[in-house]
Each structure stands twice: as structure tokens, then as C-alpha cells.
């Protein structure tokens, strides 16, 4: 084989692997991506049931019902709410009134049957997508502690939590250490 034909074999092999990779990536992107939705979008956009969604918002206070290991709660963005059914352990930082992201299948009755529930990443931040969604729905005030707005230098004393804020704030506003990715498993 000449140098040229060997090079052609090499280039051919490279291109076919590239084509295989591109094909796999495109197929997978078509079939497996999941869109993030707010309760308002689910209410208004008429999303087809049976598909997977990532639902984000705040856990409606008083809506959490536990029966054994099964749990139901409402996720709200202040305008609409969607009921989430989940079976399993809730993450450590799951609290009423706090940000949450639930991923699962949208049912015919408009509820979401979740197989994973993520809460805030640590005691200060809420999931970024939730914060963005709340900003969109007008239930977020820029610069509140507890939000994803970074604060670099630290006040010596903890700020008091503003009362009556739509977004719950933490006691300790500060630039921060790492956070707990509190996830829960698929049951």
C-alpha cells in the first residue's frame, strides 16, 4: 500500500467514526433531552402528557402529603401549581416553601409522576433554573439573599432574613463553600 492509500484508509476510518458519533449524538439529542418547565408553562402550553419534563418551582406550603414512603406535593411559581407524586426519600434540603426541581413523566391528569426530586444545592442557593423561572413569573426580587446572586465580600454579621419575601432567604448570606447536591433516586 502506498503512503497515499494508507492515508486515505486513515481518513476514511476517521470520518466513519465521526459520522457514527454524530449520528449517535443527533439520535440521542432527539430522543433523550428533557425540557425544563414552570407550572405556568405546563398550564398554558398544552404540553402532551406522557413526555418527560423537569418541573421547577417552590414547594407550596402545606401541600406535602406523606403516605408511607409515597409523597405528594404541589410545585408553584406563584401563578399556577402542579401536583407531583413521588415515591422515595426526599432530599435533605426539601422543605415547604423552598425551591425544588422534580423530573418525571407528565400524566394525563396534569400531575407529574416524578422519579427524581432535587432540592436546593445548599442552604443558601436555590436551583438556578428555579430562580430564573421565578424571576420570569415576577415572584423574585433581584439581589435577595438566598438567590443565586453572588455576594463576594462578606458582612461581618449575618443579615436578618427579610420577612414576607416570596423567596425564602437563608440566615447566612455569604460567598460560599460547596453545596450538597441533594438528589433523590428513582424508586
Amino acid at each position: 500500500m502506498t503512503r497515499k492509500s494508507r492515508r486515505l484508509v486513515l481518513i476514511g476510518a476517521g470520518l466513519s467514526v465521526l459520522a457514527l458519533a454524530a449520528g449517535l449524538i443527533l439520535t440521542a439529542l432527539n430522543d433523550t433531552i428533557v425540557f425544563f418547565r414552570t407550572p405556568t408553562e405546563i398550564a398554558q402550553k398544552q404540553i402532551a402528557p406522557g413526555g418527560r419534563v423537569r418541573l421547577g418551582g417552590l414547594v407550596e406550603p402545606g401541600s406535602v402529603e406523606k403516605t408511607g414512603a409515597a409523597v405528594r406535593f404541589a410545585v408553584t411559581d406563584g401563578n399556577h401549581q402542579v401536583i407531583v407524586a413521588y415515591r422515595g426519600l426526599l432530599p435533605d434540603l426539601f422543605r415547604e416553601g423552598q425551591g425544588v426541581v422534580a423530573e418525571g413523566v407528565l400524566q394525563m391528569d396534569g400531575t407529574v409522576s416524578a422519579d427524581s426530586v432535587l432540592a436546593k444545592h445548599d442552604e443558601r442557593y436555590m436551583p438556578r433554573e428555579v430562580a430564573d423561572a421565578l424571576k420570569k413569573s415576577g415572584h423574585w426580587k433581584e439581589g435577595e439573599p438566598g438567590g443565586p446572586v453572588p455576594q463576594q465580600s462578606v458582612p461581618a454579621t449575618p443579615k436578618p432574613a427579610p420577612s414576607g419575601a416570596a423567596v425564602p432567604s437563608s440566615i447566612l448570606p455569604a460567598a460560599t463553600p460547596a453545596s450538597a447536591s441533594s438528589r433523590s433516586p428513582a424508586p
Partner: protein, 660 residues
Amino acid sequence: MIAELGQYALILALALALVQMVVPAWGAAKDDAVLMGVAAPVALAVLGFVTFAFGALVAVYVTSDFSVVNVVENSHSQMPLVYKITSTWGNHEGSMMLWVFVLAVFAGMVALFGSNLPDRLKANALAVQGAIASAFLGFILLTSNPFLRMIPAPAEGRDLNPVLQDPGLAIHPPLLYLGYVGLSIAFSFAMAALIEGRIDAAWARWVRPWTLAAWLFLTLGIAMGSYWAYYELGWGGWWFWDPVENASLMPWLAATALLHSAVVMEKRDALKIWTILLAILAFSLSLIGTFLVRSGVLTSVHAFASDPTRGVFILGILTLFIGGGLLMFALRAGELRQGGLFAPVSREGALVFNNLFLTAATASVFVGTLYPLALEALTDAKITVGPPFFNLTFGGLMLPLVFAMPFGPLLAWKRGDLLGVAQRLTLAAGFAVIAGVVTAAAEGGPVLAAVAIGLAVFIMAGALTDIVERAGIGRVSAPVAWARLRGLPRSTFGTAVAHFGVGVCLIGIVSETTWSLERIASVKLGDTITIGTRDLTFARIENRAGANFTARTAIFEIRSGGLSQGTVEASRRMFAARQMATTESGIRTFGFSQLYLSMGEEETNGAVSVRVTWKPLVTLIWLGAVVMALGGGLSLADRRLRVGAPKPARRRAAAPVAAE
């Protein structure tokens, strides 16, 4: 005082790093030996000052000096000493300090052990190292100063994030950084080669041990991170395809490809341009990983304070080095001389195959990680690219690669005999088929799982076949075979062991994902949960106290077939300083399998929700990685690859650079 000295040392280190960047490169251009000679001592001085600064930061943490902002935010006087030390890098500033410290250590090692490197190569490589160090020292000093004071000083710190109060923090970040930053050496050597416009087999011999060492640490670092997430986050997942994990996987894949292509370059003087490109890409992916993790683009366990100025600064560094690296490559790669010829079916061909699939897999991970970010920036749509995407693309690309793995080492250089190799692998294939059939019969489950187990056994048996064939076991008398076995280079064993490790890891992955059992239940005292052949009885629940937390611990007795197998306990810890709870899972290891228990919140009626999982052979996932790293270590111990090893006598003068 210590904090000020630390900061002063950092500034001096930056000044020296700038000298290290400019003077040797200038000397190399002017061919001035004196100017080039500046590189090594300056690199060592940078190492000295950075070590001092890092030591100063550790010191303020150990003494709980709450007049330093960083300590206030991430430490607490009641933390055990080990966590006071590790919390040094359990935050953004300290973690960047660790990054720069490791970088300085690597440059210092090149300076120390590179005495038989050609002068110009050494000077240019250290200059590039100096440039990287300058950029990151500048980043720390301008945007992430760890020594910032707080006046008046509070009496108590805010404690380290409880999730990080774990021995894992002592091991995972240093190992990972040794891997990430170790790749900077490959990058610097590649840039030096491009600056000089020449490269040869000797270059590959210099770069391989560094890449191998970086790869080894990266392997262990990723495995450690995976195990840490597994036991700490409380639900027993060991890989989430989280962008931050992908950020460490991409450099690993590129480094793995680089290791293999460097072999071709060293042995056959071929694939030069490609190897250079891979060296640039591997470190670029490390930088991208640092950017993804540190810029706050992603929210994750690792995203410490997100600050736009930091993100922009790192993006600047990223553009400079990746852009600069690729630009140099585009300008100079054409001048590199083409190397040896080989047939498509040959050892070289197999290594090219390896490289094609590894880089394609890297690309698929890259797309999956960055596509959501790009889409959100462009269209405002928020999407998640989750495990199904990666399982399909990454899995699909790894499958042919692992299947081809046993063939590679058995093929001859230049022109191989595929049929002959296939014949020699018949026995291994036989084992694989038996393993697959036995698995399918005994465990059931999807056919694909049985096939994958067969594939794993094929890899393991194939790795052993290589050793058996080389030693001639079964073909020659035992003493001869033994003598041959002893005479085999360590890197041959290294290859076999590392490949064997891939098989071990694959068995763990397949077994855990296919045959895990799970029970979720709400239990009261005395209740029993049955999982597999075991019964778990909720024996008691009690309060415990740690140095800086209180815990509620649930204890379950394990019985199997009427025999007691001890207890397993899970707990929830409450950390007073941060008002934060964490779940501590209970893990019992039986053979290679594990029983995993985690508890949820206690309800008012005394019931506790618990999740019990039986994870068959799960430990093989990490053991496999350890075996891979062991293989890397064996190769590193090979005298031909030892850093600074003298030129082997039989190497021809065709490698002029090695001759000094």
C-alpha cells in the same frame, strides 16, 4: 501576620512566574544558554513561594484565625483537625490555591528532574509553565484572594459545608488536581515542540511519563469522587453524568488517548501531529473543566461562590491558552516531519482505532455537557441532557473500543495478522461466551447485560492472554517461561493490568445497573424489610453526638437464612453552625457487593422512611479503576519510561534531542 506573609509570597511568586515565562523563552529564541538557564532555578523559587503561601493558608485554617474571611466562611473552631486542614481547599479560593500549588510542584519537578532534557526544550516548556502559573496566580490575586482580612474578626466561623466534612475531601481534590494540572506538562512540552518546530521520538519519551502520572492520578481522583458521591449523597448513585463529572471525564478520555498515541510516536515515530494536538486538547479540556466548575455556569456540588468577574477571568485564561495553543498548532504543525509508515491492521492501526473512538467519545460528552448551556444562551430554552443521552452516545462509542481492546497489544507493529491474533484470543473468547451464558442462566435480566459481562471477561482474559503469549506459557518449558516472564518489560504488565482493570470496572457497572435490588419503606421499631436473601430488622434508634453535630442513628440487624450478619446503621446529622442536615448512609460490604441503607426524616408517629439497596459487585467499579491506576503505576516504574531515565544504549542516534 501569617496571612500577610502568605499574600506577599503569592505576589512574589507571580513576579517570578512572569520572569519564568519571559526570560527562558527569550533565551531559547536567542540561543543564549545563560538566559535559558534561568528557567529551572526560577521555577523552583516559584515553587518555594507558592508552597509558603499555601502553607500559610493551611496555617490560618489550623489555628482557626477568624480574622481571615476565607476561614470564617469555611471553618469552625470545633471541627476535628483533619477537617480544619482539608477545609483549606473546600472553597473556591483555597481550591484555586491548591491548583496553583500542584502546578508549581509539576514545574518544579521538571526543573529538578529535567537535567538531561535538551536545553531549548526545557527552557521553552518551563516558560509555558510560567505563563500558566502567571495567569492563575493573577487570577487568585485579582479575583480570589484567600488571605482577605475581616475586621472586626468574628468569634466563630460559619463551619465547612457538612457534606464536605468527610475524609473524601482530603483525597479527592488533591488527586484530581494532580491529574488535571499534570496534563499541563504535556501541554507545555507540546508548545515547546511547536515553538522549536521540531519533534521526535525522544519528545514522546519525555512526555509519556508525565502524561502517565497525570492519567494515573486523574483515574484515582475520578474514582474517589465517584465513591464519595456514592456514600455521601445518600442514594447510592456512583455516576450522574453531571456536567462537573463530565468535566473530569473529558480530560481523562483525552489523556487516555494521548497515552496511547504517544506510544506510537515513541516506538514508531508516527502520529506526531496528532499527538501534539491531543496534548493541547487534553490540557484544554482540563481548563474547560476548571472553567465549568469554577465560573458558576453550573450549579452543582462543586460550584462554590459564583462570581461573574471570576468566570470572565477564567474564560480569558481559557481563550488565551486554548486559542494560543491551537493557533501555534495551526501555524507550526505543517513543519513537523512525517513519521513511519504502517498498515491499517497493525499495532499502530489498533492505537489509531483507540484514538478515534476515545476522541469521538470525548466529543460526545463535550456536546452533551455544553449543548444545554449553548442552547440556553441562544434560545433561552432550558433543557437537560441526562443519562439516557450519554448511555446511548458514550456507551455506543465505547462498545467497539472495549471489544477491540484485547486485539491491540497482540498485533505486531507495522503489519499485523488479524487472523492470527483472533486465533490466539480463541481461549479468551471461549471464557467470555461461558461467562455470558452462565450469567444469563443464573441471573436473567436483559440479553445485553449478559453480553456485556461476556465482553468484560473477554477483556480480562485477553489481557492475560497477552502476558501468557509473550512468556510462551504452555509452549516452552516452565523455567524458560518463568525467565521470559521476568524479562518482560514492566510496561507490558502495565498494559495488561490496566486493560484488566477496564474489564473489572465493566463487570461492576453492568452488575450494579442490571441486578440491583431496592426497597423503599416506612418502618417502625421491630419492622422487617426483606431484600434478596437478607432480612433487615429495625432494632433501635438513638441519639449520638459528634464534634460539631448531633446525629439520629437508626440501627438495623441483618439476618440471612436465620444467621445474624451484624448490623447496618444509617443516620441523619444536624450541623448546628449551618442549621443543615446531612444523611449518612449505612454501607455493609459482603464480598464485592454492598448493602446500602439510607434514612429519611422521622415522622411524628415514630416511623422512619428508609431506602435499602442491594448492589451486587458494585465495589468492582472502583476496584477496576484502582487496578487501571495500578497498571499505570507499573508502566511508570518501567525503566525505559522513568522520568529522566538515561538514553538506552541501543537507541540509535536518530533521536538527536535525547543526546543533549
